[in-house]
Symmetry: C3
Subunit: 279 residues, 3 copies
């Protein structure tokens, strides 16, 4: 995984994949800055009659449901459909799904289109898999391990890579599970700390189209590069404000050799035991 | 007041009150980061058919009228009504009211629902009380003391705590006036410097539901903790950019003992003299 | 040019021109902070039934088409018409025009109203002049010099100052060309690095109404002050995150004497040679 991450990070920096984001109003600026820092080219194209057309030509796409206005809901469906047709890889981040009705309905419609990856906290993944009524909104009230079976079920049912955020990130394609222990608790004290990672996943998925890595590798590589940069940022940070600034600097500076030496990753096969979650 | 502030700050950090914000597009990210820094849990739920439901379960709610799109206007009314029904404390920040017609009409409708607190600069408070045609928009062209009678009138008419921002903040429930001389002029050089304080007030009002402090104490405590953190941030800042970053670090770091030693607060009874403003 | 820049910067700081921005959701906060740092007073008034009224009283106006929702499209047309009537100077930033249909149609409608200045990268200026099918969106795939003839044509046809961003900025009113070699590549690694400059142009155009400088001088002065501050910021920056913070500090700190000594500006008459672009 560390080698694949180093290769994909280099590919992102060299290829500057155009990364379309339909994301929430809280984190648009931070998300674009994270993409620029990592080497990708952000494009926040999120209106009807443009979002779909652009999804057909962009390298990768993020759809984040944090503040889904009616315009963004229509643009999201338009973009997802176009991405499907054009085989553009796309990431769904179903923020606060299960807890709130409008986005929950939208998330179910979008999952049915077939995202390449689904990223959320444990509560969101459980809710999307039909196994929970959801958390308090943006907070995870469950742990990634508690959502492991739900993640596997979602991944198998929809053919998507599923990434569950937490102290140890859990990423699965339904057959393999990757656990990443890198990161820093300050990521949870910055708004968009998780949302921006969804955009990085879209950029890495875009880069993987030219490198030949799998979607599982691309999603895990994005998580690993991002959480390692977060560790570097935390060293210099005096609090959440300076951490967010340092994270952008660290994303721009992190070197492949740092990834090879710093990765704390575990890869294993999914155990096939009976599950009770429904996709 | 300093003791109440220390108690409420601790309660916010321990309880992480869920704080819903329907706020303007300029300051959403900064506002969420301020809430996270102070220890609260931000939730920017601002669309129709979700805003009201969420207002019924959140600890506190902010409605800020900075960029009131049609969707946000409907969501604001929905949330205010739900907050009223559920007894959720909520803060109204009537940005640029009086100067612009759409938000002025909306502000009057929202005031009629009964906010727990109203936060604004002197021009906005005067305009809302019917005593002025308003300022230049986001700028205060009047001083807090010039709005003291208007604030008292608004507070008595609507049963709300009214907070007027300025070099010395003035906060009143109609009977008592609290003046806070803490803060730094750099707060006026950062967009959202005032708007984010409205969100902190909502978080402190949420925390006060469990501590038993009054709404007046909660609003004043939020102002005091925030302006003291601003003083700490200003020490390290080289300009408005580094000040905004340092403010987030300072909000996360400020200790109760700092509040007890640094507070410059004056509490007095409202003098009952004839006023000419109309609620 | 350096002298005019120093005079206009002083005028902005003393007069604090009210600067209305109808801009994209990615950069609203950063744009407002840039305006505050440089000494102007931002006002993000971008909804229907307020945008036009405000455009009649503001000192300067920016219309940026980065994320043009239906509400913003209507507000933009309302504001442009009101600015035209009131002789309020206004800047059009046609982000990604040519590449995407909704904003391309809107940009053509807005250009017809007669902006005081048009700011874009080379691809956008070529597209607006009808000479190109556009770039990848927010990226410039052409150089400013490649857009020199298109800029001249646009400027002459519409009576606007046209500013083309790049390693060397090119600014023309159709008769004179100003080239500014100041700046730093880190500006392209911060979202809103270009968009915020459009707002600064609007502020300087507003200040020029009282100083008597021409629109060409105001637009070039904004570019020069901004790119010089970027050079100062780059000295202290450890990456794109700390650069964005340092840029705000530098904009607040940059002194007229620094502009006089640091400017790398070339002013020349437009050569009249046949052109093939169409306005």
């Amino acid at each position: 995984m560390a080698t694949a991450t180093a290769e994909l990070l280099t590919a992102v920096r060299e290829g500057q994949p155009l990364t379309q984001c339909i994301t929430n109003s809280v984190v648009t600026g931070f998300t674009a800055n994270v993409l620029l820092a990592v080497g990708a080219a952000p494009a926040m194209v999120d209106i009807v009659d443009e979002a779909g057309m652009f999804a057909g030509v962009t390298a990768g796409l993020l759809i984040n449901l944090g503040t889904p206005t009616p315009e963004q809901r229509r643009a999201s469906l338009e973009a997802a459909a176009a991405a499907h047709t054009a085989a553009t890889p796309w990431v769904l981040d179903p923020v606060a799904v299960g807890a709130l009705p409008v986005r929950t309905a939208l998330a179910r419609d979008l999952v049915a289109v077939g995202p390449s990856a689904i990223r959320g906290n444990a509560s969101e993944i459980l809710a999307l898999a039909g196994a929970s009524a959801g958390g308090r909104g943006v907070d995870a009230t469950d742990t990634p391990e508690a959502a492991a079976d739900a993640a596997r079920s979602l991944a198998r049912t929809h053919g998507a890579v599923v990434a569950v955020s937490g102290p140890v990130d859990l990423i699965t394609d339904g057959d393999t599970v990757i656990r990443i222990a890198n990161g820093d608790a300050l990521l949870t004290r910055v708004t968009g700390g998780g949302c921006a990672l969804g955009a990085v996943m879209a950029a890495f998925l875009g880069a993987a189209r030219t490198t030949g890595h799998t979607a599982l590798e691309a999603v895990a590589a994005a998580s690993l590069a991002y959480t390692l940069a977060a560790e570097d940022a935390a060293v210099a940070a005096g609090g959440p404000g300076s951490f967010a600034v340092a994270l952008l600097d660290a994303l721009a500076a992190v070197e492949p050799v740092r990834i090879l030496s710093g990765a704390r990753v575990e890869v294993s096969a999914v155990e096939d035991r009976p599950v009770e979650v429904h996709g």
